[in-house]
C-alpha cells in the first residue's frame, strides 16, 4: 500500500513528469534509430527515416508540452470502471505481484508448457487478487489450462506446445 493520492495531493501531479520524461526518451530513441537508417532504394520516394523523424520529433515535443502543462497544474483524469474504486491509493503491491506472476509465466512456459504455467498463472493471479482458498484456485487453474490446451488442440486444431508434459497430454 502506498500513500493515498487523492484529496491531500498537491496541485501538481509530479508523476506526470515521469511520463513526460518517458515520452522525450522514447522520442529521442526513435530519432536516434532513424538517424542510423540509410537512404532507401531508388523506388522508395518516402525515405525509411522520414516517418520515424516525424514521429520521434512529435513525441519529444509532446513530452515537453506535457511537462509544461503539468507545471501549469494540468491533472490527468484516471480511468474509471465497474470494479474500480479511485478513492483509494494505488495498490502497488498487488500490481507488482501480478507482474511477477506474469514474468514467471514467460520464464517457465517454454520449459513447463502452457498446461502447467497457465494453471500457475491463474492460481497465482487469483491469490494475489485476494482469493483465500488456494486449493480451489489451483484446481480451477488446472481445469482451465488443461481444458484450454485440449480445446485448442482438439477443438480448434491449434497445437500449443506441451512442454515438459509432451507425451503425457
Amino acid at each position: 500500500m502506498t500513500a493515498p493520492t487523492t484529496p491531500s495531493t498537491p496541485l501538481v501531479d509530479k508523476a506526470q513528469y515521469g511520463l513526460a520524461a518517458f515520452l522525450v526518451l522514447a522520442g529521442g530513441y526513435v530519432l536516434l534509430d532513424a538517424a542510423g537508417l540509410e537512404d532507401g532504394f531508388a523506388d522508395q520516394p518516402v525515405q525509411p527515416y522520414t516517418l520515424p523523424y516525424v514521429v520521434g520529433a512529435a513525441l519529444v515535443v509532446l513530452g515537453i508540452l506535457l511537462a509544461v502543462a503539468t507545471a501549469r497544474g494540468d491533472r490527468p483524469e484516471a480511468e474509471e470502471g465497474e470494479d474500480i474504486d479511485l478513492t483509494q491509493g494505488t495498490d502497488v503491491r498487488t500490481v507488482g505481484l501480478l507482474a511477477l506472476v506474469l514474468v514467471a509465466n514467460i520464464a517457465l512456459i517454454d520449459v513447463l508448457g502452457w498446461a502447467i504455467t497457465g494453471a500457475l498463472l491463474f492460481a497465482g493471479s487469483a491469490v494475489v487478487l485476494g482469493s483465500r482458498s488456494w486449493v480451489r484456485d489451483l484446481a480451477v487453474g488446472v481445469a482451465l489450462s488443461v481444458g484450454s490446451w485440449y480445446g485448442f488442440y482438439v477443438g480448434l486444431g491449434i497445437p500449443i506446445p506441451a512442454g515438459i508434459l509432451d507425451g503425457v497430454l
Binding site: L59, E82, D110, S125
Partner: protein
C-alpha cells in the same frame, strides 16, 4: 442484391448458424462480465475464430460483436457504472429504472431497441456501403492518404477530453507501428529478429485492453462489492412499447450517420438522443429517475452507430472505434487486404459479413431475452477469478498466435504501458488506430509519390483530398476558437497540429 442473397445463403447454412449462435453466446457471456467492454471481448475471443474457416469465422465474429455490445449494456443497467463511454447514458437511466424495480423493462427496451436499431442500420449498411465503396475505388492515393490523416486526426482530436493526451496516444501508436523491417531496413527492432515482422496487432490490442485493464483494476479493486439488482424475465407492457418505439427510431437516425463519419464514435449520438428524448417526452419529470425513453433512445443510437462504423471500415479500411479497430485486425487475420478494394476483391466475404450481422442480431434477441437472468448471475463472479481469468485468457490468446514466450513479454510490456495510460488518462483508441494505420499511411504516401515521381504537390492534386484538408482546417479553427474562449492547460498549441496535418 444477388450478392446479398448469396451472403444469406452462406450465413444460413446449419453449420454457420451454429457458429453464429455460438458467437452470440460467447460474446454475451464475456461482454456481460464487469470490466470487459465490447472491444476487449472481441480482442480476447479473436484467436478462437482464427482456426475455423474464413466465412464461418466472420459469421461467428459478427455474433461475438453484437453479443459483446448487448452484454455491455446489460452490465451498465444492472451495475450502476458504465463499462465504456458510449453506455454512460444507458447506465444513468437504466440503473435508475432497475433500482425502481423496472430492471426487466430496462433490459427489454435495451434489447429490443438494439435489435430494431441494428436491423435498420444493417439494411442501411447494405445500401450505403457499396455506393461509398464505388466512389472510394475511383479515388487515388492522395485522397486516400488525406482520408487516413483525417481519420487519425478526428479520432485523436475530436473525441476525448484532452487533445494533448490524444496526440500522445496517437504518436505512441505510430511509433509502435514503425517497428519492423517493412521498408527493407530494421526500424526500432532493438536488433531483435523476432521483431522483424513488427508487433502483432492482436498482441497490442490484448495487452492494452486486457492486461492493462486487469493491472489497473488490481491497483484499485473495489473492496466492497457493488450492489447488483436481481432481474427476472425481461418484458414490457403496452405503455412501455408505446413510449419506446419512437425513441428507438430517433436513436437509430442519430446513431447511423455519426457512426458512418470518419470521426464517428457513439458518445455524441447517445447524448443527442438522450437530450432529444428528454425534450420530446410527455414525462420529462421522470428523466434522471429512470425514464424508459432515456434507455430506449441512447441504446438504439449506440447500436446504430456501431453498425455505421462499418461503412468506413468496409469501404475504406478505416476504423474509427476500438471495436472497429479489432474488427479490422480480424479481417486482416483472415487474410483479407482491407481498404477501398475489399468490396471488389472479396464481395462474397463482405456480403457474408453483412448478412450475418442481420442473422446475429436476430439470434441475439431470440437467445438473450430468455437468458437475461442467467447473464445477470455472471455479474456475481468473484473478482479474483474474473481478473485472473482475464490474465489467463489474454496470455493464452497472445501465446497462441506464434507460440513464442517473446510475445508474452511484449504483452507484459505493453500491458504495463496500458496501465500507465489509464493512470494518466491517456485514451487507448488513438494508439490502437495509430498502430494499425501508421504503416498504411506510409504505404499510401509511397504509392502517391511513386506515381507523381516524387512531386509532393500530388498530395493536394485531387479534389477530395483538398476537401478533406479543408475539413481538417475547419476543425482546427473551431478547436482553436473553443480553446481561446476557455483557455486551459489541456490544449495543444498549433505547431503540434500542423505536424499532424502534413
Amino acid at each position: 442484391m444477388d450478392l446479398l442473397l448469396d451472403g444469406f445463403q452462406t450465413a444460413l447454412t446449419p453449420e454457420n448458424l451454429l457458429f453464429a449462435a455460438l458467437g452470440v453466446l460467447l460474446g454475451t457471456a464475456v461482454g456481460v462480465l464487469p470490466g470487459i467492454g465490447p472491444a476487449m471481448t472481441l480482442a480476447l475471443l479473436l484467436p478462437v475464430t482464427y482456426s475455423v474457416g474464413a466465412d464461418s469465422a466472420i459469421i461467428m465474429f459478427a455474433g461475438i460483436y453484437y453479443g459483446g455490445m448487448y452484454g455491455g449494456s446489460t452490465t451498465s443497467i444492472l451495475l450502476n457504472t458504465p463499462g465504456e463511454s458510449s453506455s454512460v447514458i444507458t447506465a444513468i437511466e437504466g440503473n435508475k429504472m432497475a433500482k425502481a424495480g423496472r430492471a426487466a423493462q430496462a433490459l427489454a427496451t435495451a434489447a429490443i431497441g438494439s435489435f430494431v436499431a441494428g436491423s435498420i442500420a444493417t439494411v442501411l449498411l447494405w445500401i450505403v456501403t457499396p455506393q461509398v465503396a464505388d466512389i472510394v475505388v475511383t479515388l487515388g492515393s492522395p485522397s486516400y492518404f488525406a482520408l487516413m490523416v483525417l481519420a487519425l486526426f478526428a479520432v485523436t482530436a475530436v473525441l476525448g477530453s484532452s487533445k494533448l493526451r490524444g496526440f500522445i496516444a496517437l504518436f505512441l501508436g505510430l511509433a509502435i507501428g514503425l517497428v519492423g523491417t517493412s521498408t527493407g531496413q530494421a526500424r526500432l527492432t532493438f536488433g531483435e529478429p523476432l521483431l522483424a515482422d513488427g508487433i502483432d496487432i492482436v498482441v497490442v490490442a490484448v495487452a492494452l485492453f486486457a492486461i492493462g485493464e486487469a493491472l489497473w483494476v488490481a491497483a484499485h479493486l473495489r473492496r466492497k462489492p457493488l450492489e447488483i439488482i436481481p432481474v427476472g424475465q425481461p418484458w414490457m407492457s403496452r405503455a412501455d412499447w408505446g413510449r419506446s418505439w419512437k425513441p428507438w427510431l430517433r436513436g437509430t437516425a442519430y446513431g447511423f450517420p455519426f457512426g458512418a463519419l470518419p470521426a464517428g464514435g457513439a458518445e455524441l449520438p447517445t447524448f443527442l438522443s438522450y437530450a432529444t428524448e428528454k425534450k420530446l417526452s410527455k414525462h420529462p419529470e421522470e428523466f434522471g429517475k429512470g425514464a424508459i425513453e432515456g434507455v430506449a433512445g441512447p441504446e438504439a443510437a449506440n447500436n446504430a452507430s456501431a453498425a455505421g462504423t462499418l461503412v468506413p471500415l468496409l469501404a475504406l479500411g478505416l476504423p474509427t472505434t476500438a471495436t472497429a479497430a479489432i474488427m479490422l485486425v480480424a479481417l486482416q487475420g483472415y487474410g483479407f487486404q482491407t481498404g477501398p478494394t475489399l468490396m471488389d476483391d472479396h464481395p462474397d466475404l463482405v456480403w457474408g459479413l453483412l448478412a450475418s450481422l442481420f442473422v446475429a442480431n436476430a439470434l441475439l434477441l431470440v437467445l438473450n431475452l430468455p437468458m437475461a437472468p442467467l447473464w445477470a448471475k455472471l455479474l456475481r463472479i468473484p473478482r479474483p477469478y474474473l481478473y485472473a481469468g482475464i490474465l489467463f485468457f489474454a496470455s493464452l490468446g497472445a501465446y497462441s498466435v506464434n507460440f513464442q514466450a517473446f510475445d508474452l513479454a511484449i504483452l507484459l510490456v505493453l500491458g504495463v504501458l496500458g496501465f500507465f495510460m489509464r493512470r494518466f488518462g491517456i485514451p487507448v483508441l488513438p494508439l490502437i488506430i495509430g498502430v494499425i494505420l501508421g504503416p498504411k499511411l506510409e504505404d499510401q504516401l509511397t504509392t502517391a509519390l511513386k506515381i507523381s515521381e516524387g512531386d509532393v504537390s500530388t498530395l493536394w492534386s485531387e479534389p477530395v483530398a483538398v476537401v478533406v484538408y479543408g475539413v481538417m482546417a475547419l476543425l482546427l479553427t473551431a478547436m482553436a476558437f473553443a480553446g481561446l474562449r476557455k483557455p486551459s492547460a489541456g490544449n495543444v498549441p498549433t505547431e503540434e497540429k500542423e505536424m499532424v496535418e502534413r
